[in-house]
Subunit: 288 residues, 2 copies
Amino acid sequence: MEDALIDKLTRSLPEGYHTIVGIGDDCAVTQSPKKGELLLLKTDCIVEGIHFEKNAPGKWVGWKALCRAISDVAACGGIPTHALITFAAPSDVSQRRLQSVYLGIERAARQFDIGIIGGESSRSPSSFFLSVTLTGSVLRRHLILRSGAHPGDSLFVTGRLGGSLRRQHHLKFTPRLMEARWLATHIPIHAMMDLSDGLGSDLPRMAKASRTGFEIQPTLLPRTPGCSVEQAISDGEDYELLFAIPPKKEAFLIQQWPFPRLKLTKIGYMTAHPKRSTPLARGYDHFK
Amino acid sequence: MEDALIDKLTRSLPEGYHTIVGIGDDCAVTQSPKKGELLLLKTDCIVEGIHFEKNAPGKWVGWKALCRAISDVAACGGIPTHALITFAAPSDVSQRRLQSVYLGIERAARQFDIGIIGGESSRSPSSFFLSVTLTGSVLRRHLILRSGAHPGDSLFVTGRLGGSLRRQHHLKFTPRLMEARWLATHIPIHAMMDLSDGLGSDLPRMAKASRTGFEIQPTLLPRTPGCSVEQAISDGEDYELLFAIPPKKEAFLIQQWPFPRLKLTKIGYMTAHPKRSTPLARGYDHFK
């Protein structure tokens, strides 16, 4: 539903000049300051009552807002550089809470070496709304899109899936920037994205963008302890990486993977049959 | 209040590398794709019930969202290039209304030759939020900041001030892109900004950023017919240009101004005394 609506809304919009990747991928891509490099642009927002509860600690709200965008830049193989922060806050949000949110933003900015260079603020009649714009850079040869998977590619995910909301992981996750950078520079990744809406929504998006199908064994998915297969597929907000590589690179990837504390699981493969993919429960849908 | 709070929130944030202008001006400025050019970044948001009424036509809502950001890029002397659109909509917002909003965005994008290259959408518990990220480019020698005014500079505004909300001008205004481009390329402008919160808020901001004072004759301000001096100063959402030039360029500006249908008014001058400026009623304050 969301994807179809967005398609409809954005179908006739002008694309502009020097646009390398427009609407539909994790980031938009245009020309960049340095030769051989590209500029990544990502915008994202989180809303009180949808992405975080009213009583969620401010510093985790700020952390999440920036880290969601970092996760998208990472999934494109890029390095985040600058961010702009926009918020709209109801008049009953205290200065103390805003300071706490900015503390979380600052912590993420310092940890991932991002400059905060602008923003905007407004009053809001009820919900607290936080929007992040993030720029990034990526060498042209390291840019990874969700649309590049080939039939036969092996599918991998990092970490474990499911239960993110229940265990507050969605507020405190670490975006897989280091891991994505290693993948972009060491493995000929065909397609990658971050799992924000759940594998059940995100894997079909990758397959659709790549014009492939997919075949996975749901019971073999790496699950958060205590989570069912359904939860691993549909809970969403995992912020793990999903990527497709040529099968002959599998052994090399598994041998060389330099992050012993982060699980790496082959979950299946891409197929040539878009209409005969493994049926999956849909992941989190903002419009459901 | 808003400015002081934002100062407090953002004071300790890291600035990042290659940042030419960070928090506090109309746009952020970093390195750009082309030599001698700079990249402008602007983020802005509008919120139902604050910046537009629930019954405002969708196409004007979309137009306003993009044009507010265009107005900021214009005020820096730049040319807008790419935009990303993020919205959060309550479930009772119809698809028809969203399409109407996107039609307004598209109209503005086509009129000002901007590519829409990405965005994000979310559900919202109540208010409808629309956030725009806009990139722009400007030659280094054409970049104009709000902080460059000198004591003695002559202050000008375009158009007429006041009454924007009453007559729906705030939804339908044309950002002064053409005029700002002409100014940036023909006149040695010291400082410029767009009037979004009202002269009573925005002029003190320019003076503060430039470490100057100002002296104006409020009764001589160009007013929208039917507006009082107070309304011209405080209503806000004029989206006209305010700029400071060396007094010896005044005659040249007035002679050469190529927009006969757009009024150009000298409203006063900058002074060396930050604490002895003309007292003005504050303009629109999002947090009041």
